[in-house]
Symmetry: C2
Subunit: 268 residues, 2 copies
Amino acid sequence: MSVQDDIVHVSVRGGELAGTLVSPRPRLPGVLMVHGWGGSQEQYLTGARELAALGCVCLTFDLSGHVATRNLRETVTREDNLGDVLAAYDFLLEHPMVDPARIAVVGSSYGGYLAVLLTRHRAVHWLGLRAPALYRDSDWDVPKRDLTALQNLAEYRRHPHGPEENEALRAASTFLGDVLLVESERDRIVPAPVLASYRAAFAHTSSLTYRMIRGADHALGTPASQQAYASLLTQWLEEMMLGARGHLRARIMRGRGGSAPAATMPQH
Amino acid sequence: MSVQDDIVHVSVRGGELAGTLVSPRPRLPGVLMVHGWGGSQEQYLTGARELAALGCVCLTFDLSGHVATRNLRETVTREDNLGDVLAAYDFLLEHPMVDPARIAVVGSSYGGYLAVLLTRHRAVHWLGLRAPALYRDSDWDVPKRDLTALQNLAEYRRHPHGPEENEALRAASTFLGDVLLVESERDRIVPAPVLASYRAAFAHTSSLTYRMIRGADHALGTPASQQAYASLLTQWLEEMMLGARGHLRARIMRGRGGSAPAATMPQH
């Protein structure tokens, strides 16, 4: 672990003592979270706190056209939002605690689509997708909100597609990291053929974890389905980022508690 | 591990995205390092960096009467310097990454004496002493530099003493934490009877690690003896603070390096 020196001044009796504080600068995995169309950073905040407690740095943010920039909702394009994701990725990578060699990107629906496209531009080691959406490559600079009608997406998503005809699937087909793919059983927005297309396209990944949440709709409209997804995501990231010994590391970082002497430390 | 939320703003295309960065706030052991009379914080700086790399926060500082405050050298008392150590301890404890339940104090010679006295005023869990000096209790408000002659210290240190007659030994006799006691074989300033007195006084410690550095003088005048002490200190603190699995934790914190997928992670 790298360390840093900080010159400090300790107040004493009206004067000061010169000191040096030497502290570790841990390098931790970074997790970028990309919400779907109509969502917000809030959705991933609870999950981000859970993951941070395991020892990673998480960034959740509002895509252009949402919350503070909702006035852009009618005009924002996929190009714009991919630019957002790139900027957020670069922001996370610059954090002093983040290990650039260990970056996870997590996205839902439209955010999942953007996350897959990101892998063509930036190094992503772990890719967690829930109900990733799919669009035709055409009309790249048309406002996103017009695509549903313009591209007849409901029809497009009823059929399987392949990397040869779709940029996101092409990105999936060349992705070499680890993938989590979560499907909602009763998803009418991103139906089964889209998930099947992604699953088939992820042919060269280091690992693939595919799960279906039974009874769930696209938006995870019930607490039970939200909890199911949160558990899946946390367990997968814990396995990926921390390895099987993650629980041990967490235990050590928490410390032994109190001032129990080393001699009586439980032997594991 | 506790986490913290930071509201962030990601620049993109001349505008800004609202985001939340969620990061862990690890609670790490703290180590306070107290140099001897005539020394400085510099002496412990290399050691502090080594220890910080293992995952603790270290504070090394200049005692009053040294370096920037050397003009106080003729007048500074044990009372003053104990006040320095108390202030430095409190400063370290306030660091957001420091776990107040896991504090080590390390001191050499006069710094060791002060470290032992500190245990009467503050919670110390691990106490690392190299050639801890010993003074008569009397003359507490006399300048420290006058004690050698005034107290005929050379004579005082030639004989064993007990907790019933000496405040530092009394502190040692009631200390319940873990102790490292390092003796220099050829120490003429703090000779063998002083070390023997401390060793006997530390009768109720959770653990005692006594080591002699063969051939070493009081000041550790050779690189070999300095290295021997550095190794002893690091190994002892690693054992005390991180437990036997410390190496594993360090390995996980460093990460797996590169983008090797989880599936090929070595199984330990």
